[in-house]
């Protein structure tokens, strides 16, 4: 019984990571109706930057904040320079661009930081108050950090004027322009946030899975599965979807099929959700006018 409960909690901890990536994906999707395939590689690259800063001797939390800021800025720049020209282009073109970004970031990670697997420190000391019966210190710590970020994001969108403007721009860009919102910049800020959240997820997951250029590939897929499961236009759904996927992954891995087929599980989840529940558990049903 205890092992079962432990699997669930461990799944929830992983689920936080998946949920964060899912959230980043949903943020971009809500604003642009595009899925950012490069999200994982961008997160990995950000984590490498954090690693490099720590190697240079910076204290963890300073490196953390700097990486957060750099990722945000990079996200904004990428939207402004690379994505704006293809905003109105067909889907295939956008998919191309995202794949291109994926390739470039992956290669940059490998080229600048080489392919040896690196250890990434956890800011949460092993034997601290954070350690509980079911969560390791790092798991609790990540969970709390994620929660804090999610709440901050929620507050930002719900209570600040900029957050309101961003929500408006995502829902109805034309009306948003008519009240003077600079919609293009709102998209850029959305990208900035998504990049920053991705960096956060990377830094939280790296201590457990170790840092190398392909760290996030499987996690990205789980992020997609979570976003789709939760309803790709619903941020809360993304987070919940992540938790569900995390727990499912662990339970299936421990009791049903072993841990070697994780990506196949993701595949089945994705295809299953898309076929049986296209708007996910919490998404809005979209009816297109013919």
């Amino acid at each position: 019984m205890e092992a079962f409960v432990h699997q669930i909690f461990s799944g929830l901890a992983n689920g936080c990571i998946y949920g964060s990536i899912a959230l980043a994906l949903v943020m971009i999707y809500q604003a642009t109706h595009h899925l950012n395939f490069a999200q994982g590689e961008m997160a990995t690259f950000s984590t490498f930057i954090a690693w490099a800063l720590i190697q240079r001797g910076l204290p963890y939390w300073l490196a953390f904040l700097l990486t957060f800021g750099i990722s945000f800025a990079a996200g904004v720049l990428i939207q402004r320079i690379i994505l704006r020209p293809v905003e109105k282009a067909p889907v295939l073109t956008n998919v191309n661009v995202f794949i291109g970004l994926l390739l470039i970031f992956n290669a940059l990670s490998g080229w600048i930081f080489d392919h040896t697997v690196k250890a990434f420190p956890s800011p949460f000391p092993q034997e601290s108050a954070l350690k509980t019966a079911y969560f390791s210190a790092h798991e609790s710590g990540s969970f709390l950090v994620m929660l804090a970020v999610l709440l901050a994001l929620y507050a930002f969108f719900r209570f600040t004027p900029v957050g309101l403007a961003m929500r408006a721009a995502a829902q109805n860009p034309e009306s948003a322009r008519l009240v003077g919102i600079r919609v293009s910049w709102m998209l850029a800020v959305g990208w900035g946030f998504a990049a920053a959240i991705g960096a956060l997820a990377g830094m939280m997951v790296a201590p457990s899975v170790f840092l190398d250029p392909n760290m996030m590939a499987g996690i990205l897929l789980y992020g997609f599965a979570s976003a789709l499961l939760g309803g790709v236009d619903n941020p809360w759904g993304a987070v919940l979807g992540g938790l569900i996927v995390g727990v499912l992954e662990n339970l299936l891995g421990a009791y049903v099929i072993g841990t070697e087929l994780k990506l196949t599980v993701a595949l089945v989840l994705i295809v299953g959700t898309l076929t049986l529940m296209p708007s996910g558990l919490f998404g809005k049903r979209v009816v297109t006018r013919v």
Partner: protein, 239 residues
């Protein structure tokens, strides 16, 4: 006594992609006045308003308060003091009534007066006040129209563009809305450019009128002149 010309449009062309819709129209609006643009479906009325807001490809000249609008981004036109109530109302349906109104004041810096204006809107439109935290998409047609107009007014605009405010609404509600519009014009001095299919109501409200036919100005004059015009009466007033 010539009043200040708030909006002066000369030789305005507009196109959707390769399709030319406006073929060089001229019209004007005096400060504090109401001008209406009439015409049948497809005449280019909605396009005219969209052209002023730079939502379509335009060429020609549109001087607003001395500033050239052609070539600016929509967001910049709004910042000059032009508020557009689009056809279909353009409400943020997933957001609350209150959030919609606050978005109307997005470009304003005077926070305190925004709060005051918000309360004034609720006082003027009690039905919106009752529903201030309700999702805008759940409002009735008439309420959404009031919301759209209020949102535009939250900008404290110099010029209010209205695209078919009577569309799809019951006659009683339309009458009420037009009464409110007159009040906004006389009490707050907001200039208005009104596009309407309902020529009768529009001519009763407006001072000047322009009749568009296939992207060109066919008739122009004061409302009284148009109301007396034989062909206008026959084609658009059903008299």
């Amino acid at each position: 006594m010539p009043e200040a010309s708030l909006l002066e449009v000369k030789n305005l062309h507009a196109a959707y992609g390769a399709t030319q819709v406006l073929h060089g129209i001229d019209f004007g609006l005096q400060s504090g006045r109401i001008t209406t643009i009439l015409g049948a479906n497809g005449a280019g009325k909605t396009t005219t308003l969209r052209a002023i807001c730079q939502m379509v490809r335009t060429s020609g000249s549109a001087l607003f308060d001395g500033q050239q609008l052609v070539g600016k981004a929509t967001e910049e036109v709004v910042r000059l003091g032009v508020a557009h109530v689009p056809d279909g109302r353009g409400t943020f349906t997933a957001l609350s009534v209150d959030e919609n109104l606050r978005l109307g004041a997005h470009v304003r810096r005077d926070k305190q007066r925004v709060v005051e204006d918000l309360e004034r809107m609720y006082a003027r439109f009690p039905r919106l006040g009752e529903r201030r935290h309700q999702q805008a998409g759940t409002l009735s047609g008439g309420e959404q129209q009031m919301l759209a107009i209020s949102r535009a007014l939250m900008l404290r605009p110099k010029l209010l563009l209205l695209d078919e405010p009577s569309f799809g609404l019951a006659p009683k509600i339309v009458t009420e809305i037009f009464r409110i519009l007159r009040g906004i014009n006389t009490d707050d001095g907001v200039s208005m450019l009104l596009v309407e299919q309902n020529a009768q109501l529009a001519l009763e409200l407006a001072d000047r009128a322009y009749l568009l036919e296939t992207g060109r100005v066919a008739v122009s004059g004061t409302s009284r002149e148009l109301m007396a015009n034989e062909s206008v009466r026959r084609s658009y007033l059903g008299v």
